[in-house]
Symmetry: D2
Subunit: 332 residues, 4 copies
């Protein structure tokens, strides 16, 4: 007797360039899956309709229809209101105050839980991955920006009407140039993929990173995690220094977070970490340790994420399950 | 019929220079109180015995004996283990790993809850003061160092085996001189009373703060909150700038905390804030607001503490009550 | 009777992408001129021969031959030894310890003075441009990097065997990320064209600079001064903020230089300044003023360069004249 | 036949707490000397008269009268106008625009050269001490503040109407707290004796520097160079870290100065350096080296001053001699 007869949970990851739906049985095994590109420069409704289609396709792959859905968890970029299911602001999508949860619940006729995508990923690692059984886990995911999430005593840590753990906006050297962000210098100025790429482009332009210069060039958009890894492996030592330094500053912010939250587990994930796990694990660990009060130095572990791209869909679905089964949150 | 017949709660505040016991009836009205100096350079046992005497005196003032105690909450400096009642490290007391909870429970024959003193103060403000009804409150108390605490969904936020919210150790300009602390430059380097006093002493020495120079001098230990306030009120504008700047950097760290935790309420307290509430409220508010992402700017309030020195004893007692009545924590 | 009968002075500007020779009569009027591209990835000798050809072409344009040359001044990138005429290191040319002066003097049979190209430009402004009659002028030329030069009491300020005024390497926030430069964070990390372009590329990528994103993109090499100016003029306010902030930090470094050298005149030049003179003049002036001790605030003027691309050839030729006529330096 | 028959040179050092006159024969051997306290809170004229008396006493000790004086060189604190002999601002003396040169020349009926006291000290080291035969020497003298001076090709480097090399006001981490100085964070915020004392006082107060706490305390004014040295020698490792860190930041500023001026010699002097020469020599050298471009790393030496308190009087007298004999400056 398959566990699909108990109904299924849908996990959804809505990204700036692609969207992914997974159908999970009650043991959280994947039994259906579908993927679509996210459209740019269109009205929110166009993409909302694509979400529905993508879910339907994933269900079809599993030979199921909508009636079998027990709940949907959808991870969205930017701060969201988990209670109302509203996406406050998703810059890449051009969204502001889009009632994703309400709309989707109406269309699909089932409970929908909206979460921040990084929170979903951290929750996934907490339930099924590198942070299982942690009382408090903080996830740090350096990518284009730097996402963060926290699961505290089994639940996603959040504010009233807004998600949080925006570790990319941790003020890291507040008096340094803000580069037009209107606020202050933050961790993203140093350690995001975009910032690393910009520093790498300058080094390439100056002739200090010959491999990168030859094979990738000085276009910030194309200097992605894999390009950085290849450059380092080919001997561009200056790029290794840039990446290691960026990781060390993540460690400084991590020390700040340990002083504030004393997590058991810090999970590092995202594209940069996947491409260069050793550099990040070592540099973040060492820098975090060095910057901590003695009493906190043995209170936590730093690990790399285990679930990769599946973390968000798994986490979103599992979050929907726990909230709906326990009736903790009034789902949209 | 007085509520004391329901038994009483003891709140205790163990400071580096003095200790305070208060007896509360079930409505948390004070019905007895006692105070003693804390001894320096003595064995922990000597001060533990003084704690017992001070509690007995407070009970005597209320015409009660130990049998009426339903529970004791004791706020101690430094990181503590709230589960085992162990004080990890209290530098001013010269304590390291002192089992306060266990010892006191044995002596007094009642449940004892050990909390960090700043956590106790923030919990006090949450239950009875400036942060009533907040879903998430963060307290920032600049004093000799800078203490912090957080009450999240009704409970003190903490780590496994260790308290946290050590906002004084927030890395604020990590590359700046660490001044021998073995880690990095932190909020305490800029905004603690000690740091402000040191900056003020330099200004006085250089002749830029004539009132302070004349009436207080350049001794860091004697430049306390009141002295700073008087200097400002007498026209030492450079001291006002130093204090305002220190407050602004607290605002920067506060913005970091809002991005991480999205609290409803930030409570400012402690000696500096009590002496100069307007400077701190205005500068912290403005600086925090300026350094936040748009989406977070209207999600919280900044207030000053209402309970003054009573916050810790009230909070410790009320924490004991809630934990014991709800049996949430296994009290020592 | 034309002043060319007194013989002529050659000014030469050797850049990373192009080289320029000008023939000046004794009144420093241009009477011949020639230009060539600089070859990359070739032996130094190939480019040295191109230098000779370019000078010969310029002479031919003036209907003169080599016998009329009284002296050659050649501005070269990077630190040079003005006494021996050795170029220590010219990264863009791939040169290290190339004896330009000796070689050229042998070929052309006349005295050759080798100077740093920015020094030459500042000397040009001192003799003929915006800094005429200054007792001490400091030039700051933000470009790909940031060049500096100083003329002190009529002579180029320099070290023993090496030129100096490397203001781009002024340590501006030493604890901030060094980005793989092996030293510390410097003015070039904030205010060079390359650094501004990298910050602008990130803003464009994030969607905060729509005009730049659409018309130029996120390729660091193509975000040049004109592109930045156009972006600002088209309403990309975040780019304006980035540029202004970069200029303000130049002002901070300028304040440091005023405290050290107390120049009469600070000349701002180079591509960024030519494209956006008002932003630079205003922001550098204001920031420099703000960061100065009272006593130094009225001791200097900030001006923009007047001679544009001609500054270096003019300055190199005029330097050759003064040194040869006065026999101050033993020319190579 | 003694060289005193050629007339004598007077060197004078006007400090905030004491004044010193030395009579030198033409070989710059001391043949008379006198010392007096400097009065505080009196009119400039009172101290000017004490200067005259002190010189007369020194002459008397040498059995000479005023007619034998060939010239007086007087080193004064703060920026001075070397041409007019005006002291712009001497904070410790409460002086502003005092015409020392003119007044003293009138009283003593001889040429008087007014120089900045640190410039005088550096000139002394250049002529007779650790920097003999240097083409360009930069002196860095960390004391209550941090003084600097430069002798370039035999003459004191200076501005028009104002002395310079104010290295204490080098912007070292401009975005860090300015502590009420109205400008930005500078080298003096980190590395002056006053700043080190303030950091040390905080460590003592916190119990991290037990020897300093017991023997000196937390009074900034009394934590002088000798007290810091004794604390380090007695095992206060945190004080050693504070001092070493301060010295390293002097090295960062020194690297900035090398990039700007390329001196042959950097002389370290002043009370802190005299008390702890090894710490300063090693830390400044290492930090300066690390922060330099490769091309500059072998271009200079770092040395400690040799002349101690005599540097200023010697330098002032020798400067008077060279200027008067060469008639370079129109002496007051």
């Amino acid at each position: 007797m398959t566990s699909r007869q108990d109904g299924v949970w849908i996990g959804f990851d809505l990204g700036g360039t692609k969207m992914l739906a997974s159908v999970f049985d009650s043991s959280f095994e994947v039994i259906g899956r579908s993927r679509r590109s996210t459209l740019n420069s269109v009205s929110p409704k166009k993409n909302l309709k694509r979400i529905v289609k993508t879910i339907d396709d994933a269900l079809a792959e599993a030979d199921l229809d909508r009636t079998m859905i027990r709940g949907i968890g959808i991870g969205c970029p930017g701060p969201v209101d988990m209670t109302t299911g509203m996406v406050h602001e998703a810059i890449n999508l051009g969204w502001r105050d889009v009632p994703v949860g309400e709309w989707l619940a109406g269309k699909m006729d089932c409970p929908v839980l909206v979460v921040n995508d990084v929170d979903a990923g951290v929750y996934g690692e907490f339930r099924f991955g590198a942070a299982r059984n942690s009382r408090c886990v903080v996830g740090i995911f350096p990518g284009t920006g730097i996402g963060g999430g926290c699961v505290y005593e089994g639940r996603i840590l959040r504010g009233h009407g807004i998600t949080c753990m925006e570790i990319g906006h941790f003020p890291i050297d507040p008096g340094a140039p803000a580069r037009g962000n209107g606020r202050c210098h933050t961790l993203e100025h140093v350690s995001s993929r975009l910032s690393i790429a910009a520093a790498a482009a300058q080094s390439a332009y100056r002739g200090h990173a010959p491999h990168l210069a030859e094979h990738v060039g000085t276009e910030v958009a194309t200097i992605r995690s894999g390009a950085l890894r290849d450059s380092i492996n080919s001997g561009d030592t200056v790029i290794e220094e840039i990446v290691r330094e960026a990781a060390e500053w993540i460690g400084v912010a991590a020390a700040g977070v340990v002083h504030l939250l004393a997590p058991d587990t810090i999970v590092l994930g995202g594209g940069l970490v996947e491409a260069m796990p050793e550099i990040f694990l070592n540099a973040v660990s060492a820098s975090c340790h060095k910057n901590l009060l003695e009493s906190y130095r043995d209170t936590y572990q730093v690990v790399t994420a285990e679930l990769g791209d599946d973390a968000s869909v798994l986490g979103a679905a599992a979050w929907a399950e726990t909230e709906i089964v326990n009736n903790t949150t009034q789902a949209a």
